[in-house]
């Protein structure tokens, strides 16, 4: 399995994500935003502040050369994981529904965060147990997930809500912390599994997410 971590001007979790994948033995490379993506099985959009979050978070990143054909790739079934800013970019690309707004309390929140794993039937979560509580850090000012009532019904009906906050930190609709697209090959989430992937850093719950991806490709 080959993975590419897209690096935008302003990305700051690219190295964390790269190291986790690399430590798991994945053939991973950085892809500069101005280069084309070629021949990877997993595209990872890392956290950070791409293009300074100008206009709206993720609004400018969607024009990056690396993302030119991303919606076509998604349609073909390519796995895409967007963490934090990566989630914001995926909503701006319309690859995922909804939008990320300013946190309800207007604060930038940087803390540990308990999440409930709601759907384990995805390429990203097959190593978790349904209902399991995991601890991934969050670090965002705009993580307040919004979707209208009709959209929410659809997310629920299609089992697209993958992670919910145990104690909603930011005002997200329905405690949503992470969702997939309808097909399930795109996951966007505000919490950072790549920052909870080494016991030396306090927690390795996030490792399961990356091991799930490996397991998905082994079985495929």
């Amino acid at each position: 399995m080959k993975a590419g971590v897209i690096v935008f001007p302003g990305s700051n979790c690219d190295i964390d994500a790269f190291k986790v994948l690399n430590n798991l033995g994945v053939d991973v490379k950085y892809i500069w935003h101005d280069d084309k993506i070629d021949n990877v099985d997993l595209i990872l959009l890392p956290g950070g502040f791409s293009y300074g979050d100008y206009l709206r978070c993720g609004a400018i990143a969607r024009f990056a050369k690396a993302l030119e054909n991303i919606n076509e790739e998604i349609e073909k079934g390519k796995l895409v994981l967007g963490i934090c800013n990566g989630f914001q970019i995926l909503t701006e690309l319309k690859a995922l529904k909804g939008a990320l707004l300013r946190n309800k309390n207007l604060n930038f929140i940087c803390s540990d965060c308990n999440l409930i794993v709601e759907n384990t039937n995805t390429p990203f979560t097959n190593q978790f147990t349904k209902g399991e509580i995991v601890n991934f850090p969050i670090a965002h000012g705009e993580g307040n997930y919004y979707i209208d009532d009709e959209g929410l019904k659809e997310l629920i009906a299609n089992n697209q809500i993958v992670f919910r906050y145990k104690n909603n930190p930011n005002g997200s609709v329905n405690d949503i912390a992470g969702i997939t697209n309808k097909r399930g090959n795109v996951l966007g989430m505000m919490p950072h599994p790549e920052r909870a992937a080494d016991i030396l850093l306090g927690c390795e719950d996030g490792l399961k997410l990356f091991k799930s991806i490996l397991s998905y490709f082994k079985e495929a």
Binding site: A59, E92, L101, N103, L106, Y146, D148
Partner: protein, 81 residues
């Protein structure tokens, strides 16, 4: 040339915590209001003399980039310069 003044705000149905915080700030000063909403102001200059044509271009810009219509609405005012 035509200058477009674009105001972007969150939809009415969406909570605007910044507006709420500012409303409370105003109240500390004894200045009471029914509602405060905070948004973005964008000015775009077009090499164009016809307001209808300008409106069409600005609408396209708003739809494709300037406004996230999932959560935002916009109003535009034009000035011939």
């Amino acid at each position: 040339m035509i200058k477009a003044y674009i105001d972007v705000t969150l939809k009415k149905s969406i909570l605007d915590p910044q507006g709420t915080a500012v409303k409370k700030g105003l109240e500390k000063l004894g200045l009471y209001s029914e509602d405060v909403r905070i948004g973005k102001h964008i000015e775009v200059v077009l090499n164009e003399n016809n307001v209808d044509a300008a409106r069409e271009k600005i609408d396209e810009m708003c739809r494709k980039l300037l406004v996230n219509q999932e959560v935002e609405i916009y109003t535009v005012r034009f000035e011939v310069i």
